[in-house]
Each structure stands twice: as C-alpha cells, then as structure tokens.
C-alpha cells in the first residue's frame, strides 16, 4: 500500500482527568472514503478536532504524506490540505451563495485603495462548481438560507475541494438530511473520491457508510476496534461494533430486528 496522505497513530487526548481518546489509529489513502463510525460520545468529534488542528494531541503521532506534523491551529491543518466540513457547515444563511463560497478567501483585484472583490469571477466560479455537482444555482446572489440542507452540504464540500483540500473530513454530513438529499451528498462524496481526495466520512448511520465507504473504522469509548475493508464486514457487524455488541443485539431481537 502507498504512503497514506494522512496517518494518525495511537492518538490520545485527555481533557483534564477525562480520557476522550485512548489510542486511536487511522490512516487515510488518496482516493478512498474512510468511514469513521461511532455512537454518540465515542470520541468522534474529539478525533476530528485533533485531525483538523483544533485540539492538540496529548499523545500520539500524526503524519501527512509520511512526514510527521504537529498542528497548533486549524489554519495549519488547512494549509496542509486537511479541510473539515463541520456539521454547522460554516455557512451564513443571510449571505449569498457566492459570498459564502469565498468567505475568508475573497479574490480581490485592483490597486489599493481601489481593491475590490472580483464579484464576476466569484459568481462564475460558484456557478460552475455548483453545476459540476448537479446543483443549478440560477442566481449565485441568492442567500444560502434558500438552499436545501443537502445543497448546503454540497456547497460546503465543494468549497473545501475548490480551495485545494487533499483530505476532506466530513462531520456527519447526512445526519439531518432526507432520503433524496442524502443520496445527493453520497453521490458527491463518490465524485470527490474519484478526483483523488481522501475522504474521512464520520457517521453513525451504517447504511450511509456502507453505501460509499472503502474502509471502516469503528470508534467506541475512545478506542478504535480495528479497521475493516469493504466486503469483509457486514452492516450488522458494524452496527454491533458501534453499540459495543451485546445490548443492541438483545434490543434488536426484542424489537424484531428493526434497529
């Protein structure tokens, strides 16, 4: 196997006396979707934040393209090509799609003090990028608030991709979406993979993970329970690993296999 674009080895993170992560190892290859599954409180969010430079590691090592790195700010992670799309998407509903797309990275032209935002360029790029993923933004000047949840998710992802992400971390991108919107987002994740990016797909929905995942890592109580390759593991097994096994199996039997 080639050098992973991002590798996390034996990551530990303590908050005071609370051990949030107790030795998590994950590697992400270019062009794969690595699903990170875990129930609430399993340490998913903490793990994302260590990958994206928000939290510093208490222990463990991190490699980008085989080189050891120590991120102290999200900016550094971003510069290394690790982009995170959080659940709140970092989008402002009252602002236009274009203004959101380029927020914080506005292209300007002209000479100071006549340095203006290049709105024509911004609108064009936004419209093109949206078209590539099958969203027809008739008017890039429309507010993000008018887009559906799935569309917003896609705008957030394509923004990260456009600005040169190598590794894309998606924090539960499908958790609040309907069926059609979920398939829209999953389809887009597949497109991003085909463009050669490494995708970390965080979810607690096994079916969504099975739909696009190449490898699966289950987090439980701050530990990884190993990584499985697609085809080696069934949805039921993943589900049970996430829940810590026994209890859910019992409950599932009681409810007639509906969980």
């Amino acid at each position: 196997m080639t050098t992973p674009i991002l590798e996390m080895r034996d990551i530990e993170k303590h908050f005071g006396s609370v051990v949030a992560l107790a030795g998590v190892s994950v590697s992400i290859q270019a062009g794969e979707v690595h699903c990170l599954l875990g129930d609430n409180g399993a340490g998913k969010s903490t793990f994302i934040k260590t990958m994206s430079g928000v939290h510093r590691l208490t222990k463990g090592e991190m490699f980008v393209n085989g080189e050891p790195v120590h991120f102290t700010s999200p900016r550094q992670a971003l510069d290394a090509g690790i982009a995170t799309v959080y659940q709140d998407l970092a989008m402002i509903p009252l602002m236009s799609v274009t203004r959101n797309f380029f927020m914080g990275r506005e292209p300007v032209k002209g000479i100071w003090p006549f340095r203006f935002m290049d709105m024509g360029f911004c609108d064009r790029v936004t419209r093109e990028e949206m078209k590539r993923i099958g969203i027809d933004v008739r008017d890039p000047g429309q507010a993000v608030g008018t887009l559906s949840g799935g569309e917003r998710q896609c705008v957030a992802i394509s923004r990260a991709v456009y600005f040169g992400a190598k590794v894309l971390i998606l924090d539960e991108p499908t958790s609040a979406l309907g069926v059609r919107q979920t398939s829209m987002v999953l389809k887009y994740i597949d497109m991003v993979r085909k463009r050669g990016l490494g995708v970390v797909f965080i979810t607690h929905n096994v079916r969504h993970a099975m739909a696009v995942g190449d490898r699966f890592t289950v987090l439980n109580r701050g530990r990884t329970l190993g990584t499985a390759v697609r085809g080696e593991i069934s949805a039921d097994e993943l589900q049970n690993l996430m829940a810590g096994g026994k209890e859910l199996a019992d409950l599932s039997a009681e409810l007639g296999g509906t969980v």
Partner: protein, 375 residues
C-alpha cells in the same frame, strides 16, 4: 486535481421559477427605506407648503438629515457587523468637548484639534470594542454604560473647561485666526460650491434675493460629507473583502472565524469607525454653532439606530445596507423639518419616530424570511 470530471446532468427543479427582476428588487435591503421615502415625499408634497421642495427647503431638511446620516452610516455598518453602539450620541457631546477644549481652552491650531478629537473618539471606540469582545457581554449593555459615562464626562469636562458652565463658546473665533486654520475651517464648516451657486443665480436658474444674492449660497458641507461617506461606506460594504467580512462577522461570528475571517479585528474596527463618525458630527456641529454644550447629540444614538433599521439593517446583524440607512436619515430630516411647513404640531415627530420604527422592524422581518426562504 486536473481530472475535471464532466458535470453531472442538471436536473432542473420544476418547482422553482427563475428569479425575476421583481424578486431581485424585493431582495434589496433598501427597499423598505425607498418605499418610506416615497410615501413621506408624497405626503409632504400633498399637505406641506410648496416652499419645502424648493432648493432652500431641501437644503433646510437635508442639513439635519446629513448630521444624523453620518451617525447612521456608522451605526448601520456596526449593525451589519452584529453589534450596537448606544454611546454615539454621548460620543458626539464628548468629542465636541474635546474639540472645543483643544481649540478654545488650549488654543491649539484647528488641524491639531481635529486630529486629537478623532484620536480620542477612536480610542474610546477601540476600548468599547475590546470590552465587548473580551467580556463576551452584549454590546447593548456595554455601550449603554458608555452612554452615561461619556455624557457625564462631557458635563464634568465642560464645567472644568469653562469654570462652571455647561456651554463652551468662542470656537469659531478661535478656529479661524490663522490662514491654515481658516483652510481647515472651510472643510468642516460653511457651504461648498458657492461660486457655482452664485453663477446659477446670476443666470436666473435658482432663486435669488432682489440684490442678486442666491437664496441658497451653497451646499452645506455636512451634506457633502454625508453623501461622500455614504458612497464610500456602501462601496466598501458591497464590493470589498472587508465588506464581506463585515457581513460574515455579523451573520455568524463562529462560522466566519472557522472560515478564516478575523472577526475580532473587523468588529473592533467597526466600533472605531462608528466613534469616528460621531466625532465628525461633533466637529461639524460645533464649528457650525460656534459653541458646544453637554446636550449635544442627545438621543442621537437611538435615531441613528432607527434610521439604520428603516434602512433594512436587521437587529440580529449580518444583513443591511448603508444606502438604506442614509435614506432612513433623509426620511427623518424630511419629517422633522417638513412638519414646520405644515399646520401639524411638530411634536408629532416623536410619534412618527416610534411608528416608523415598528413598521420598519415588521417589514424587515418579512424581507428576511423572503431572503432566507424561511417559512
């Protein structure tokens, strides 16, 4: 990333109609203010003495509108950035005191006094901003405190500078005693384009007195300042990177920060700008009146915020328009002065103020729902 995968098939959604011109107009934040201006204009054309819409009448109501407008421009930028400044009215009094004390009490040259006044205002704006950002308290409360602090300081300072009075006179005399002072005096006081107006009057294109002097000798400088600032601020807000950061900081500071927007710097700078607008109004009005007093700028903070709200600024931030706020101020000036051209008691002005605010907030709410597609 050279592999540009072909665009997937577009699935046009038959439930959405393309945005029409009407929708685009409805989406403008200034819409409410423009409608208000039209209604108020029609109202006064209907009932007021026609003198009101002659050149002299227009200058009459534009002068107070301009003074309020300069404050409203600062207030609207700050509101789009998600914060309030309730201390601008008191800041006008305080900056007026600093300015007048520099000129009269310390006998400084006018340019030095102007620089010191702006520096003091900027320092207070900076302090306000830091206090809001580092304590995490709502700017409403922090600047409410400064509303009283600055008003009190103005009173105390005036008594100190004058030896007991709350009015400081003799600014005009002290501000024009050298040619350098006179040059700066003309930038911040008097009329502009006097030559043009005299020429227009000579050719009978504008009204003039029997002796040949035009009835309006020029455009009062505050109107020039107001228009120039409104255009500058509108361009900055709509067309620059900094403008985008203002919208972002007000819309959702957290999301903005995650996207690399320096929200603290943006908000602090907006507090400074707002305070400097107040200082400008102080200098203009003090030079105009030739004196300063402790009641200067009284309640102007509320009027400025109302003008900004009429102009389409949301109280929650992240949305609004400078041009709207400027139009809101013109509505104010029109009603304040316009009522004197009618037989209506001028105190109805306050009733109007409250009514207009309610209507504007109500209207803005509808607009916001339209913009964000909320239902």
């Amino acid at each position: 990333m050279t592999d540009r995968s072909s665009p997937t098939e577009l699935i046009p959604d038959e439930r959405i109609r393309p945005a029409s011109v009407v929708t685009r107009i409805l989406r403008r934040p200034e819409l409410g203010a423009v409608l208000g201006l039209v209604i108020v204009t029609v109202f006064f054309i209907g009932i007021a003495n026609p003198v009101m819409f002659e050149l002299s009448g227009i200058v009459n109501f534009m002068a107070p509108a301009a003074q309020l407008g300069i404050l409203a421009i600062g207030a609207s930028l700050l509101m789009v950035g998600g914060e309030f400044d309730l201390s601008v009215g008191s800041m006008v009094a305080f900056a007026g005191l600093i300015f007048a004390a520099c000129v009269v009490t310390f006998g400084l040259p006018l340019p030095a006094a102007i620089v010191i006044t702006f520096a003091c205002a900027a320092a207070f704006g900076f302090f306000n901003g830091q206090l809001v950002l580092y304590t995490g308290l709502p700017s409403f409360i922090v600047t409410l405190a400064f509303l009283f602090v600055l008003r009190g300081l103005s009173l105390v300072g005036l008594k100190w500078a004058t030896g007991g009075a709350t009015q400081l006179r003799g600014v005009r005399e002290a501000a024009t005693d050298t040619p350098l002072d006179a040059f700066f005096y003309n930038i911040f006081s008097g009329d502009a384009f006097e030559g043009l107006f005299a020429w227009l009057a000579a050719h009978d294109w504008i009204a003039k007195f029997p002796n040949g002097q035009p009835k309006v000798t020029g455009v009062p400088v505050e109107i020039i300042w107001f228009v120039a600032l409104a255009i500058l601020a509108a361009v900055v807000l709509a067309r620059t990177r900094y403008g985008n950061w203002i919208f972002a900081s007000g819309g959702d500071p957290n999301a903005a920060r995650n996207s690399g927007v320096p929200t603290r710097r943006v908000k602090t700078s907006l507090f400074v700008v707002t305070a400097c607008c107040a200082a400008l109004v102080a200098i203009l009005t003090v030079l105009d009146a030739g004196s300063t007093d402790a009641r200067r700028g009284f309640q102007k903070e509320f009027e400025a915020i109302i003008a900004a709200v009429i102009g389409g600024c949301l109280l929650t931030g992240g949305y609004g328009s400078v041009i709207g706020a400027a139009i809101g101020s013109i509505i104010f000036g029109m009603v304040l002065i316009g009522l004197t051209y009618t037989s209506i008691d001028q105190d109805w002005y306050l009733v109007f103020l409250g009514g207009m605010l309610l209507m504007a907030v109500f209207f803005n709410n509808i607009i916001r729902k339209r913009v964000t597609g909320e239902r």
